[in-house]
């Protein structure tokens, strides 16, 4: 008998606007020592499925309509609260996506770690504080926290994102669970850290023989670690098979679509960059922020002496991990962050010398697309207002032709005209990003800086938006700087790539040349950490590590 056996699980959400079938007749099994990956885009029901196992769903609106989830023969869906608490404390643990918000910022991580040990549901199993501390330190060592004894008393904000996720893993493992549910545990992490965390989960699993359910939106991430994969879409299971079956003998159309949407390989469009005709010239740029956390107040050197040129018509990829200063560099070029030293030329004009008033006509020529399409649109302005604002402000349209111009923009970015009067919250993430792109191209700019424009989107939507961006670049003859932490995306879209780390440029090169032959160790590490959507080569790679 399998450790966990889910049969015909159906969960509906009942709201005023009707019933949403979040999970519809889903069945799967997980054995000890086995990894099951549940893959799907947002709204596919993958998280709802797993949250229901630990009774973590808000009820109402959620209601479990049918099905059983037998864990060791006991139904998790119908057991009482006391029994569920025992399962939660002893048998089933969960790791969440965001390690910052799932740790309590006011309690030291050690205190949080030993909590389940000293307050165990089963009184006889409770440990003394000193024993619990020893056990926790041992576990922190195991998940790769250096100096675990000192770090025991540190608070969550004193750890980096990757280290926090390690703490979360330790916390999940502290009571030796038999089933570990990981809900997108690496989505918020940098690519090199992601590789480390994935490897850690795999090793710990093998050592302890626990069953793992791994939820992800990214087939690439699960390729290397999953034994079995189920692909979910709109609440139903589209395809269930072992990992190699999913990747090499794909049957379902939706799975095929998902696989096809993973950005892979080189750019399809020709390189339109002009030679030696730079639109933007950055020389020895430094952007520092005051850092008040130290005494005396010091500086955070976000960008520390960067020089680069962007040629007309070029798509320049800017790659780096979080904290590398890539976003600050983009904002500095657009004069959205005050620079500390250096110069930025747009054509022959030195932008950083212009007064705010003189800068206005130049602002029109350079625009930005932001990462989060939920935050980058004013929630109280309709699509029409959002798109009309730049046109009217820069007198690119008048009262007569404004409607027609806005419609033209909506056509350009692939939004139906009937959506004109809607507010941002009525759109999906991908549609919102289209609105934001429409706003950026409204002023007919020459340069667009796109800061992680597809990172917040599902993989199929991501592919659509990337193609939209490529089309617009060609149609409007744009020059673009494309900032991303995702190397596959950058390779797919860029002509030339700049790799940044800790505020300085590590390496620059034509995309394919850089992929084929990276010159710097840092670049090699980055490239090696990209998860491949190919179980066999992933496994080989893990063995060689």
């Amino acid at each position: 008998m399998a450790l966990l056996e889910v049969n015909g699980l159906s969960i509906y959400f009942h709201s005023r606007n009707g019933v949403v079938k979040a999970v519809d007749d889903v069945s799967f099994t997980v054995d000890a020592g086995e990894t099951l990956a549940i893959v799907g885009e947002s709204g596919s029901g993958k998280s709802v499925t797993c949250y229901s196992l630990l009774d973590l769903l808000p009820k109402p609106p959620a209601k479990i309509e049918a099905g059983t989830a037998l864990f060791d023969g006991i139904d998790l869906l119908s057991c009482d609260a006391a029994q569920m608490r025992r399962f939660r404390s002893n048998d089933i643990a969960m790791i969440f996506q965001d390690p910052m918000t799932s740790l309590n910022p006011f309690i030291s991580i050690g205190e949080q770690l030993i909590e389940p040990l000293i307050y165990n549901e089963d009184k006889s199993a409770r440990l003394s504080r000193s024993d619990a501390r020893l056990r926790a330190i041992e576990l922190l060592d195991e998940v790769g926290i250096i100096d675990s004894e000192q770090r025991f008393d540190c608070f969550p904000h004193e750890f980096s994102g990757g280290m926090r996720q390690r703490v979360m893993i330790a916390m999940a493992l502290i009571n030796e669970p038999r089933l570990l549910i990981c809900d997108e545990p690496t989505t918020a992490l940098d690519v090199t850290i992601q590789a480390q965390i994935l490897a850690l989960i795999k090793t710990l699993q093998q050592k302890r023989d626990v069953a793992v359910i791994f939820i992800s939106h990214d087939l690439g991430v699960v390729a290397g670690i999953a034994d079995k994969i189920i692909v979910m879409c709109e609440g139903t299971v589209r395809e269930a098979n072992d990992a190699e079956g999913i990747f090499y003998r794909t049957e379902d159309d939706y799975t095929k679509k998902l696989l096809a949407a993973i950005p892979e390989g080189a750019k399809v469009m020709p390189n339109r960059a002009q030679v030696d005709n730079p639109l933007i010239k950055v020389q020895n740029l430094k952007t520092y922020f005051r850092d008040y956390s130290t005494t005396p107040a010091g500086h955070i050197k976000a960008v520390d002496g960067v020089s680069l040129e962007i040629q007309r018509g070029e798509i320049l990829g800017l790659v780096g991990e979080s904290g590398s200063g890539k976003s600050t560099l983009g904002r500095s070029i657009l004069q959205l962050a005050p620079i500390t030293a250096g110069s930025i030329h747009f054509d022959s004009i030195e932008l950083n010398k212009l007064s705010p008033a003189k800068l206005v006509p130049w602002r029109r020529k350079m625009q930005m697309i932001f990462q989060d399409p939920y935050a980058s649109l004013n929630p109280r302005m309709t699509v029409y207002q959002t798109l009309a604002e730049p046109l009217l402000y820069h007198s690119l349209a008048n009262a007569k032709n404004i409607d027609q111009q806005v419609q033209q923009l909506m056509d350009d970015v692939g939004l139906a005209r009937i959506n004109m009067r809607k507010y941002p919250h009525e759109f999906s993430g991908g549609q919102r990003q289209r609105i934001a792109i429409g706003r950026a191209i409204a002023t007919k700019p020459e340069l667009i800086i796109a800061d992680e424009p597809v990172s917040a989107l599902d993989v199929t939507i991501q592919a659509q938006i990337l193609d939209l961006i490529l089309n617009l670049v060609e149609k409007h003859n744009l020059t673009m700087m494309f900032i991303s932490h995702d190397l596959s995306v950058v390779r797919y879209i860029s002509d030339r790539v700049v790799v940044m780390n800790k505020g300085v440029i590590i390496e620059t090169g034509d995309t394919e040349a850089l992929w084929a032959d990276p010159q710097q160790q840092y670049t090699r590490d980055l490239l090696a950490a990209i998860p491949l959507a190919d179980p066999k080569s992933e496994r080989l790679r893990r063995l060689s590590r």
């Binding site: 109280r380 604002e389 402000y393 919250h425």
Partner: protein, 296 residues
Amino acid sequence: MGLFKASEQNQEQEQGTSLWKDAWIKLSKNYLALFGLSILGLLCLVSILTPWIAPYGYEEQNLILGATPPSLAHWLGTDIFGRDMLTRIMYGGRVSLTVGFIATAVALIIGVLWGAIAGFVGGRVDAVMMRIVDIMYALPFMIFIVLLMVVFGRNILLLFLAIGAVEWLTMARIVRSQVMSLRKQEFVEAAHSLGLSQWTIIRRHIIPNTLGPVIVYTTLTIPSVMLLEAFLSFLGLGIQPPQSSWGLLINYGVETMEEYPWLLIFPGVTLSLTLFALNFLGDGLRDALDPRTSKD
């Protein structure tokens, strides 16, 4: 900017979509808010027409009659001087509603602008502006008002200004904290990169997004201003008898509560009705001005 404004209006006519127009459509479907609005409208109308429709003069005494309970001649009874309560409440409404609305409007305008500018510009400007607010907070309110009265003389307009000048402080703080979190948002940065002027950004992108808390606080301010006026009048700094206001009537009503309860009940009911109406309207407005609440 001239062109911008003209085309903005044009766009509203043609498109029928703006925050305010949508808000009105939504509000007109919210019966509770409409009820509040009509009560307030009725009270205002009565107040405006009072000199023509009031059954008696507001200072018309009848000492022989004295305090009588409600009757056909005096629907809401008379006070100890034999003055008709209905008339007194109607005249009182003129003062109370004017104080309530004007002082709150003063507080609203100064507070929102002050808070928005301080929060948006930040840095030294913010520090100086907020220290001024702190200093005003620290000033004992009564001394401030007495000082104003001594310097400028007793004047009902001054009373509005004085109350407004105290009430805007909290409004400024609320708006500032809202704006501080808003200005870091990407849509504000996008507006910067479009080259919009600071003032346009504040007006079009910042202030509309602070409306929720501002409206709620406004509906709380209006009644507290009315009561403040009663307090000042009670101390002899505001309205003086034989003029009346709801606050004053309630104050006198409390003194004679046991012998002549109607002197307390009727002005009290009128004030409560106003507060209910304001709260219904405020809640309705807050929902209507937030596009994220459903349209149906």
